[in-house]
């Protein structure tokens, strides 16, 4: 029975903040395939294409027939718990600080035996379990034995919380509360149990719909934030940076121009100034404090979310300069992920397809409702997923891009979408 997470008591300010130590993060290249899948929320193992044997640990040749044709394939994770133990001692600093810690040995129905972290609601062997993959604090995939059925307060399991970024009892900064997406995010975070949601707004004199309603929520504190203004970003970081647990950067400028449709670079500059440089300013101002609080108690700093666009993968020419700015932001987000990694902060990149808002008015459906995007982001935080492709369009683009990015490029250039 997992005890529900209780709101932690106020922190004693004279105590030293616990620094982050990471679980062992070394993996061979082949094993990174498991991490790549877990980053998108999937548990995959290699399956031999010649003899169908499932492989674990990850390797270069089939353990049964030696074929090198091993394909990463989604797993159900169904299996039986052979044995379990509770660690009361560890040489590893990360685990040492978090003892006792439960581990299990599971045999998957498809064959291999796996060492797994065990969810607290899993009983003793023999027992049926379901294995899933999650990214641990070092950003690498680890396997987790879950109870066969969903249990109450499952997400509050101490071990699982180390792998996820649940907004419950946490303090979140949403950088732009003026847009429909921003407001949907605020609602979703409040619903997920966030304690405080700071909501940024630039140009406070511009009255946009929905703002007053959001500002009235008891968890919400509106804060001035203009990502084009370094002073604004630095001042807000100085004020609240030491308390923010999750930075959620949804601020963007989105226009629908390619190259020839509009003279001048000012629109493209406006897009870059928020979508790319804004992210850079935000990361420089808020990153340090976020990193230093990654192990600060049960509800410490945990994640940085970048709302990008599926157009970051492959340029959508009718929104060509916007696509380029999102591609720049994506590259920068990868840099941010590398820089955040030693601190255990999860960088979550979200690649929605066209959102059902005014800037995508002329896009044909299907379009992603702001509420659906918000709920996908909150789910990714709760599940510990770091690459999110919400909605049908995003999923389909991703599939086409993975299949052959050059073909996708040609399709889009020919006027497809």
């Amino acid at each position: 029975m997992t005890m529900p997470l209780m709101r932690p008591p106020r922190k004693n300010p004279v105590l030293r903040t616990r620094q982050m130590s990471l679980p062992p993060g070394a993996r061979g290249r082949v094993a990174l395939g498991m991490t790549a899948a877990a980053a998108e929320g999937r548990f995959e193992l290699q399956v031999c294409q010649a003899c169908q044997a499932t492989q674990y640990p990850p390797r270069e040749a089939c353990h049964r027939c030696l074929s090198p044709r091993l394909k990463w394939t989604a797993q159900t994770g169904e299996g039986r718990l052979l044995s379990s133990t509770t660690l009361h001692h560890s040489n590893d600093p990360f685990f040492r600080e978090r003892l006792p810690w439960r581990l299990g040995l599971v045999q998957l129905d498809c064959g291999p035996s796996l060492m797994v972290h065990l969810h607290g609601d899993v009983g003793n062997a023999p027992e049926r379990v379901r294995v899933g993959a999650r990214l641990d604090r070092a950003g690498q995939a680890v396997l987790i034995g879950f109870p066969n059925e969903e249990s109450v307060n499952m997400a509050d399991d101490k071990m699982l919380r180390e792998m996820t970024s649940d907004p419950k009892f946490r303090k979140v900064l949403v950088t732009d509360g003026k847009t429909a997406v921003g407001q949907a995010l605020v609602q979703a975070l409040v619903k997920a149990g966030a304690d405080i949601v700071w909501v940024g707004h630039a140009e406070p004199w511009k009255k946009l719909p929905g703002w007053d309603e959001i500002s009235k929520l008891p968890q919400v504190t509106p804060v001035p934030l203009d990502l084009t203004n370094g002073k604004s970003v630095d001042e807000l970081a100085g004020e609240i940076g030491g308390k923010v647990d999750i930075v959620l950067n949804n601020a963007e400028v989105h226009r629908s121009y390619g190259i020839g449709a509009r003279r001048g670079t000012d629109v493209a500059k406006a897009e870059m100034d928020i979508n790319y440089f804004g992210a850079l300013r935000l990361a420089q101002a808020f990153g340090g404090a976020l990193k230093s609080r990654a192990a600060d108690g049960e509800t410490g700093a945990t994640a940085w979310v970048n709302v990008l666009s599926i157009y970051a993968l492959s340029n959508f020419p009718p929104h060509g300069t916007y696509s380029a700015s999102k591609a720049a932001a994506y590259s920068l987000a990868q840099c941010l992920r590398a820089e955040m990694r030693p601190s255990g902060i999860r960088v979550v990149n979200v690649f929605p397809g066209p959102i059902d808002d005014e800037w995508n008015q002329s896009m044909p459906p299907p379009k992603l409702a702001p509420a659906a995007l918000a709920s996908a982001i909150v789910k990714a935080l709760k599940d510990g997923v770091e690459d999110v492709y919400p909605g049908d369009v995003a999923q389909e683009w991703l599939e086409r891009w993975k299949d052959n990015p050059k073909v996708l490029e040609r399709e889009l250039a020919a006027g497809g979408s």
Binding site: P23, A26, S84, T85, S113
Partner: protein, 390 residues
């Protein structure tokens, strides 16, 4: 069609050397290797130059291997092997050295296992132990084999009804043996109550189920029987030897080891039966593995380990002497020297050099090796039967 393997006629093992174990050392593994070879030279009366074959086993030698050691110690062997297989390295070194001597590729082979132990050596070693350990075991936090052997122990207990007391008997009797071993790290007796009450490490593994890592070395010489006689060296002879790697890989959790696959051949080589063995030096990283060796090496049937240990006294003077030096559990595990500990002890028992802990009238001894835990089990198994010269 079975090819009858060649026996080990004419091969002698002599000069068991132990560089005393210490908990921590600032020296490198090379210091302990050098110390061991110096002791081999002094005790054998040979000049260093007469040692023309060398095997080295160590976890803390990197970036050196056996090659670097030759230059480090000023040796120029004509036969060299680096055997990085930890707990199985003693058996494997002996098998290789024996063939070199039989073929005339070397006349005198020094087999050395040594490791240093700096204050954080253990964690450093584990971090780069094997690909699979790095990818599938180390991330889960035990920082060592404890969790894996906890799984194996818990499964074995559930499967065959073994209790903690059963494993405790093994540890307690080994401690009794250790009290007669001046080189053992543990000097105090251990009672079954103390064993049971000890703090949990990874249940059902508790403190006295775990070896104590330390620094030290063990070594011996392999040569022809004729040479050993010429030199006037007390020696034992090799009656049979087996090894097997990655056995029973389809077993979802380890319940049996590779010894089971080739044990009939071992006894056939030695022209002996399990009943004829006067003492065993099992590889004791954890008591559950000792129990499996009793089963898989033919002393009792699979699953009868618990009944076996309840029915026997495993002290040097008991009904079934096991790990007469105290084993790693009581003498300490000096890294790869843990795979040589049983061999040097066996040679001492067979050459009248075991002092107060001599097994009465020991003629035939079995040394088992086990090592190289990857992510869910150890991969290497081996066993040697040594006897007195005819």
């Amino acid at each position: 069609m079975t090819n009858r393997r060649r026996g080990y006629e004419g091969v002698a093992v002599a000069v068991p050397v132990t560089v005393p174990y210490v908990r921590h050392s600032t020296h490198s593994a090379h210091w302990f290797i050098g110390h061991a070879i110096e002791a081999l030279v002094k005790a054998s009366g040979l000049a260093k130059e007469q040692i023309d074959g060398l095997t080295v086993s160590s976890f803390s030698l990197a970036p050196d291997t056996a090659v670097g050691v030759t230059q480090h110690l000023g040796m120029s062997p004509r036969w060299l092997d680096h055997i990085p297989t930890g707990g199985a390295s003693g058996v494997m070194a002996l098998r290789r050295a024996a063939r070199a001597v039989q073929a005339g590729d070397a006349e005198v082979v020094a087999c050395v296992a040594a490791d240093t132990n700096h204050v954080d050596s253990f964690r450093q070693t584990l971090g780069s132990f094997s690909n699979f350990a790095r990818d599938a075991s180390y991330p889960y936090g035990a920082g060592g084999p404890n969790s894996i052997f906890a799984f194996i122990t818990a499964n074995y207990m559930r499967e065959y009804g073994a209790t903690r007391e059963d494993f405790g008997r093994i540890a307690v009797d080994q401690r009794t043996n250790a009290l007669k071993n001046p080189n053992a790290m543990f000097k105090k007796p251990l009672s079954l109550d103390e064993y049971i009450a000890a703090r949990p490490i990874a249940d059902p593994i508790h403190l006295f189920d775990c070896v104590m890592p330390c620094a030290g070395a063990d070594a011996f010489l392999v040569m022809s029987e004729a040479r050993a006689r010429d030199l006037g060296l007390p020696h034992a002879v090799v009656r049979g030897a087996i090894e097997r790697h990655n056995a029973f890989s389809d077993d979802p959790v380890m319940v049996r080891g590779g010894w089971l696959v080739d044990r009939d051949e071992l006894y056939a080589q030695a022209a002996a039966r399990a009943d004829d063995i006067d003492f065993v030096q099992t590889y004791d990283d954890y008591p559950v593995i000792v129990m499996m060796q009793f089963e898989d090496l033919g002393f009792c049937a699979k699953g009868e380990g618990p009944a076996f240990v309840r029915a026997h006294q495993m002290t040097y003077d008991g009904s079934f002497p096991n790990n007469t030096s105290g084993g790693q559990l009581s003498a300490g595990q000096a890294g790869a020297a843990g795979g040589f500990l049983g061999m040097t002890e066996a040679i001492r028992q067979l050459t009248g050099a075991a002092g107060d802990r001599a097994v009465p009238d020991a003629k035939l001894g079995l040394v088992a090796g086990f090592g190289m835990v990857t992510y869910d089990r150890c991969l290497c198994t081996g066993a040697v039967i040594l006897g007195r010269p005819a």
